[in-house]
Symmetry: C2
Subunit: 338 residues, 2 copies
DNA sequence: AGTTCATGCTAAAAGCTTTTAGCAGAAAAA
DNA sequence: TTTTTCTGCTAAAAGCTTTTAGCATGAACT
């Protein structure tokens, strides 16, 4: 007779079935107060039997902690957001915390609406995510009564913020190319007004020194294509490796190189950025690239908001999580490159 | 003095500030009961002034409707899920309903955990989404005390289910090609064990009649590439159009055709399926394709679960939402094709 | 024997809202 | 004048849980 009725079982039902008071039932189930071991066991068995599960609303109302958080995102497409969100949800579900997804489409009205709904629901915290790293949050988050964690977006001074370590990621790519004996490395990346593009480019320039060249453009395949054509059309020495600011750009680069009959990786090695599998796996040859560990980013952001919501201290400022090099075949390997 | 304090304002604060009882305050704010117009106005003004917003937890506890729903998905990557989820969230936020995102990663344990959390939170309904159309839901959803809507996944008999209209979508593609004067249309698509692949293929066969050929394989670029090579290597007449089961396949097809020096769209017209912009916009030439209207699918699913949760009747069974043809340049146009 | 202590349990309050039942007063009807 | 009806308001209950304060009971002290 496991909750076959229509009504959800309450702690009142448990108490009645176990022949104790409501308080004793609660204490027994939560291990609080003073309870006889035998009674405690009986109550727990009864609760299990009738399929009792505590009402999260009532619990939240009393404890002032809803054990839910909100995720505010302005990413419509979801290439970055969803893996990240999955990471957040994955790490929090084990702590009994659920995640509200709020897609704002960069619309301030919608963002405001979502934010108010979240506050009305007494969420314990908010994770704000953006894809356009440069964009202002579409809504005022600074003076909220609950903690906010920023991912892929910079919050006000002293806020808790997570980014991938673009600087280290770029270094990873360049070091890999250098280890394989490449010396004339070119960098083709996205628009200069993206912070991530600037950081990666600077890291590349620092690592490669003189002769290094960073070409800013778009986050598109087309731009990769175009940049390669430009470079190979002009006089002077040609690069023996290209580090791309995104996998999409890398894809354009690879296509353009093939059109020019340039061998990959023999003549030119190519490294991407994103490890966006649908792209990186499908290039010919498959793309060596930098993974931003989006899921791990989600884990960390989730744990951070969890700690903050409990009042535990979390180091403020920007935390940059290491990227990972994923080796496929667009660079050759130390062994086979000769 | 708009909620500058630490504590959230309650209806008790409103009542006190307006000099009325709690019940009157509630009645005035909600327009229930009998209230003098003047009093009602005063209460509302006061509520506005002190920044009162009702506690959704308390409200939900009483009304037994939490005004929240859960979205259970096993899609890790999110290409289909996130636009759909954004549609759901977008349409529901205006009705004061929020959405819990639960990524199950196809892990039954995780799915069970999420499901229990949702029930504990008294959600008003659940939207279940899958990418692998053939897969069983990772958890038993049939005997739940709350309504369930299925999207991209088939529920038990008589459940409310939404799919894109694959049959109509395929017809859209074939008709477009025919209108442009193409007669030898080939179909290259994904694995036969995907229902969507089978439906699209059947629709194509019905529309094209004898001589039509559907090639099943993978949902990958590589397969598109390979299929084209096979077809163009064997003797006999060559197709003058290729309808692809996905944009990724189309991409492989286009690349392979270019390698063979076949002109697109002059010699062969290509149509994709998905309107996955990162792919469809970046092929050369840009890809004419079928859009599944994922956001609209989300809207409809959201409205359906809303109605169901209010006890309003919703037609059971599978509803298929029309797809849309997106014309780019991979087929030419009636005007420029000569 | 009288006091202190520990144990196992319970009644009641608190958390915030909505709804029900009903009270007083005034107006309308008898 | 008495009764009915309507109006505007309020006290209290309900929704479900956790926590606080405290009540008996029996054991261990002084």
């Amino acid at each position: 007779m496991k909750n076959t009725g229509d009504r959800r079982r309450t702690i009142y039902d448990v108490a009645k079935a176990a022949g104790v008071s409501i308080s004793t039932a609660s204490n027994a189930l939560n291990g609080t107060g003073r309870t006889n071991a035998e009674t405690r066991e009986r109550v727990r068995r009864v609760a299990e039997e009738i399929g009792f599960r505590p009402n999260a609303l009532a619990r939240g109302l009393l404890s002032k902690r809803s054990h839910a958080i909100g995720m505010l995102t302005n990413d419509t497409y979801g290439r970055l957001t969803l893996p990240m969100a999955a990471g957040v949800s994955e790490v929090l579900v084990d702590h009994g915390v659920s995640v509200f997804l709020c897609a704002t489409n960069n619309d301030p009205r919608l963002a405001q609406l979502h934010l108010e709904a979240l506050l009305d629901r007494q969420v314990d915290g908010i994770i704000f995510t953006a894809t356009r790293l440069d964009l202002e949050p579409p809504v005022q988050l600074s003076r909220l009564p609950i903690p906010v964690v920023y991912v892929f977006a910079e919050g006000p001074a002293d806020s808790v913020t997570f980014f991938p370590d673009d600087e280290q990621g770029a270094r990873l790519a360049v070091d890999h190319l250098k280890e394989l004996g490449r010396s004339r490395i070119l960098h083709i990346t996205g628009p200069r007004d993206y912070l991530a593009a600037r950081i990666r480019a600077q890291s590349y320039l620092d690592a490669c020194g003189d002769g290094a060249e960073a070409m800013f453009g778009e986050w598109s395949e087309e731009w990769g294509h175009e940049a390669v054509q430009t470079v190979f059309a002009r006089p002077g020495p040609k690069p023996d490796a290209i580090f791309c600011g995104s996998d999409e750009i890398a894809r354009g680069v690879i296509d353009a190189l093939r059109d020019l009959n340039v061998e990959i990786p023999t003549d030119v090695a190519v490294v991407g950025f994103d490890n966006w599998e649908v792209v990186a796996r499908q290039t010919r040859p498959p793309l060596t690239t930098i993974d931003m560990e989006l899921k791990e980013l989600g884990h960390r952001a989730g744990l951070a908001i969890l700690s903050l919501s409990k009042g535990e201290p979390v180091p403020a400022g920007i935390t940059r999580l290491p990227c990972r090099l994923v080796v496929r075949q667009s660079c050759g390997s130390p062994l086979q490159s000769d």
